[in-house]
Amino acid sequence: MALPRRRFDTLIIGAGGAGLNAALQLADSGARVAVVSKVFPTRSHTVAAQGGVNAALGNKLPDDWHWHMFDTVKGGDYLGDQDAIEFMCREAVPTVYELEHHGVPFSRFADGRIYQRPFGGMTRDFGGEQATRTCAAADRTGHAILHTLYQQNLRARTHFFDEYWAVDLLRDEEGVALGALVLCIETGEPLLVEARTTLVATGGCGQLFRTTTNAHINTGDGMAMCLRAGIPIQDLEFFQFHPTGIAGKGMLITEGARGEGGYLENKDGERLMARYAPHAKDLASRDVVSRAIAVEVREGRGCGPDGDHVLLRLDHLGERVVAERLPGIRDLCRTFLHLDPARDPIPVFPTAHYAMGGIPTDRFGRVVAPARHGPEEVVPGLYAAGECACVSVHGANRLGGNSLLDILVFGRAAGRDILAFLEANPHHRPTEEAAVERAMARLERWERKGEGESPQALRDELQRLMEDHCGVFRDRATMAEGLQRLEALRARIAEARLQDHSRVFNTARIEALELENLADLALAMVTCAHAREESRGAHSRVDFPERDDRNWMKHSLFFLEGARVDYKPVRTRPLTVESFPPKKRVY
């Protein structure tokens, strides 16, 4: 096959915070790096992050990375791997300083230090008083970070392939990663990118749900690529619903709004969180707050004519705080709700937000999968970082401000490990033509002409199905039915047809390919959620309301082949400090 080919030391798929931070490490060290992204880099969804990034800088109140570590372990309901969490919380401090040196326009305290705000689940002294740990650039922290990283990559002359869509990973017989087949969206032509190392940094899969804070492009492509390459996906049943999406629309109102002093109210004008989390109240962990809102609405204490949401109040904070600290959400409220949060309360409801699970990696960003010698064998040359990866630092529930941290820390860690790998493996391996053909077949499948359902309509149906059968509260019967319906839907997707067969900027074709990815991930999510008979973090089973550490303190691994689920133990041993044993989680 006469496919055009390009060769690089490293291929990075994804230009969000994770991909760009890895690229920067590599390009600054002289490696030849290609970054492939389906949208122009600054349009990646990291741009939408609002509230901030956690690091125990102690700019306002005394702080310690060890306290941050405790909060993260507890916040994740003891499913997080403590070696990776220790690493992340220690690295947070130099990582944020490095960002600042790169030019991120952080907000500032009067003494010129980086501004920090309180965020949910963050405490001092291992569960004591509220900490002030979340570093912010007003409420546009993701924008500030993403643009700065892109700018630094321009300085470092990173090679960008903008608006290229990665189709599938290539591995050889021995399982070594060789790069990927990608599609130029503008011309519709495939291109083979051969690389000695490949980093998957494709972000989240929030488009699995209808009402979501995630962008149209967040379709979990990298996770699905790994599934098809024989690599399992870990812990996908843990999916976070953010407590404060704009009701019915899904745009996010940052937790920073509550960090600045905002609170939730039900239709009786009651500050509802006092009942669910007497100590932390509105700054309890997200899973706790989301469930509280869902219960209020279910028990008839919701607001509005349909009683289908609660209110987030910021009107007591004063004009200045809203204008200075929350200008972005003020814009959102004005645009989408025609209200000013400095005066009027905001209608909110839990909204699909974040995948705790993903491609299993170790703390060096290396992809690990079960093989001959155990459950965590390194896949040579393959790396993953960012929301698509599962290190796992978030366990069963991510704390606000820890994802920006995760993508930056592990993006950088992957960059460093890739350099070592490149040194040890100086030569490209021959490309496996059979793998290329398999990837090409995926593209050709959509060339089929004739009558068939439209991928677009099927995507809507998939999103509704996931919302109905795998939402905030779950039980066996609902999920079993969901699985059956999903099987039927997947069969219909296999028969769907495109009407548009043009090459040039064919977005219908891209969306069809994304739909296939979503359908595989939906299967992974419902299958694992159905299998896990306990409640932990974001996974709440009405029929199994308690956490069950004896049977379920373990990670799920979903394999596409045979839709099989396997498990592996949680790494409870940190690097240098004592392990935090599981305790009952109260806020």
């Binding site: 741009v47 600042e100 030019g103």
Partner: protein
């Protein structure tokens, strides 16, 4: 409500044309929602979009003669028939998708990254809240291109005039107390074209969906240059 949308497919061999569609308006509907509805019925319509909330900068289009982001343009505000065209002055790839490479090149040319030359402190480089406040109205740019593609000077001199977006970006770094490349930055904008093609027509200010003011930034650069030259 009736929409007239610019259609062009280079593979078809046909000339560009306006195609009419009718969309049922719901309360709170944005132009992006309307375009998605059109696409649900006619999947051949191509346009860029992603975040749906005005932060990614993907969906700049020309609506009834004005450059706007489709996702934050309420249908209720628009005159019927709603004419939707690609951003003006750029080569059209297909339908509402334009080639923005020249726009991005000008951005790269102003070296849009912080240059701090002193040894770095172990912690943050200190910056007072007042110094930081100078970056407000500058750093929020989302690279949507609504401004530069509304600028007559950019239409006539797209290769040589940097355009309002890139000049705003240049000022964002000149204004940063941590940046130490002032002289080079100013020097790089000298000559009759890169900066001085701006005739303060203010189209860019009207067009910016984020309420930013490139014209003011350009005036500040000019003032700064004057200061240096005395």
């Amino acid at each position: 409500m009736r929409l007239e949308i610019y259609r062009y497919d280079p593979e078809s061999g046909a000339a560009p044309r306006m195609q009419s569609y009718t969309v049922e308006i719901r309360p709170g509907m944005m132009l992006r929602d309307a375009l998605l509805e059109v696409k649900a019925g006619d999947e051949t319509l191509a346009f860029r979009h992603s975040c749906g909330e005005g932060v990614c900068g993907s969906d700049g289009v020309n609506v009834n003669g004005r450059n706007r982001l489709a996702c934050i343009t309420p249908m209720a505000e628009l005159r019927e028939p709603v004419q939707v065209r690609p951003l003006p002055g750029r080569p059209v790839i297909r339908d509402l998708v334009v080639d923005m490479s020249t726009f991005y090149r000008h951005y790269r040319e102003v070296k849009p990254y912080l240059e701090h030359r002193d040894p770095l402190p172990e912690q943050e480089i200190r910056q007072s809240p007042e110094e930081r406040a100078r970056l407000d109205g500058l750093y929020e740019c989302i690279l949507c291109g609504c401004c530069s593609t509304a600028c007559p000077s950019f239409w006539w001199n797209p290769e040589r005039f940097r355009g309002p977006q890139a000049l705003l970006a240049a000022w964002r770094f000149l204004a940063d107390s941590r940046d130490q490349a002032t002289a080079e930055r100013l020097e790089a904008l000298e000559g009759p074209y890169r900066l001085f093609r701006c005739h303060s027509i203010m189209n860019c200010v009207d067009a910016c969906p984020k309420g930013l003011n490139p014209t003011a930034a350009i005036a500040r650069i000019k003032a700064e240059m004057l200061k240096e030259s005395i």
